[in-house]
Symmetry: C2
Subunit: 228 residues, 2 copies
């Protein structure tokens, strides 16, 4: 059975994001996958990258460099326990699903903090092992999110620009950098402004997509896909 | 005298980011500006968008919707005190400078949390008052940051793509959405991999730019600037 980690960032279980998360757990479990959820708000996940992420002495206590210190700590097994736990979940997963409401053309800070703190050098990448040779190669990622703005606003030529523009930092800058192959995003546009029936259809469409997810080809994560 | 708010996100005062912040405070003060700094790590600024941001009863306690709740709370003066304080600083500022190390093609989570929590509907935007009619119009913003990757990596055709690609969510998606006009970013590429002399030159170049900053024209914050 395949292993899936859902990194989930919504405060309200009754939200559409909460339902999308539940649908994914149900459908993937039904397929025989083993599914783990990191429910960031429920975990009160710490988003701030600080000295507390390193257990014991610092490599250089004169001038704190977060990237260097977490790299060194990773190598000696000295990262804080919450990070070690998340890294273990990532390590075991074949697929990472990120489920969140779009906040300011990006993920909520609590999820950005997960990226900042979990994907440390030595674990997720290790220059020159980045992009196609990133350390998390052979894994897949999928960004599943809801928007406030409508599909028209996020069309090419729309006031908010092609939705693909804002996927670049998340899909290419983070996942591709770590060697992860990226599946097409799953986007529910403006669920707050549609009917209950439409929202139900959104959940059904997500469950439907998940049925054949493992047959999907990753996108070609290069500037052409985003900015053509 | 003009008013400047520097939103600063680095853990280490001795870092280049710390020096860039100090240089800005010194140079702008010398010009007669009144400068305020929000030192996010020192403030232990909360990045998580939660129910704690609303004082007193919720508008809808059955299903928590962060956007709706903070909007309602803003209107009745019921946001948490840390948010009211940051909003007051923004309100008074003619120029917002964001000083940070680039984390994963974006700002560190602690700064993303500042965006998520401070720029609430009613205060920073209020549909259809967004983009050119956003509520923070007549203000300027400038993103000043350091990178891990080199200028070559962030060139058009480079492995990390044109640095402008990753500016879209921050400059257009956040600042322009709120009506703020955006000055050209100030980027120090890969300071960790250059000599002490080069790093000194970076500080001098920043001070130099600040001398004539008020004469600068904002960029044309449209897809052409980012993706041409």
């Amino acid at each position: 059975g395949r292993k899936v980690l859902i990194v989930y960032a919504h405060q309200e279980p009754k939200s559409l994001n909460g339902s999308l998360k539940r649908v994914a757990v149900e459908e993937l479990s039904k397929q025989g996958c083993s599914v783990t959820v990191s429910d960031l708000y429920a975990m009160q996940f710490e988003p701030r990258a600080t000295r507390n992420d390193i257990v014991g002495c610092l490599h250089n206590s004169e001038e704190f460099n977060y990237g260097v210190e977490t790299w060194e700590a990773y190598k000696r097994g000295g990262l804080s326990s919450d990070l070690i736990e998340e890294q273990k979940k990532v390590q075991e997963a074949d697929l990472l699903i990120f489920q969140f409401p779009l906040y300011w053309f990006s993920m909520p800070a609590i999820m950005k903090g997960w990226m900042d703190r979990v994907l440390v050098q030595g674990f997720a990448h290790d220059f020159p092992n980045c992009y196609d040779s990133g350390l998390l190669k052979n894994k897949l990622a999928l960004f599943s999110f809801t928007t406030g703005g409508s599909e028209e606003m996020y069309a090419k030529g729309g006031i908010s620009g092609d939705i693909r523009y804002l996927l670049w930092p998340m899909q290419h800058g983070i996942m591709h950098f770590c060697g992860v192959k990226v599946l097409a995003p799953h986007i529910c546009f403006a669920p707050e402004y549609v009917s209950e029936v439409k929202r139900k259809e959104m959940l059904i469409a997500w469950a439907q997509r998940l049925k054949t997810l493992w047959k999907e080809e990753p996108i070609n994560c290069s500037p052409e896909w985003y900015f053509k």
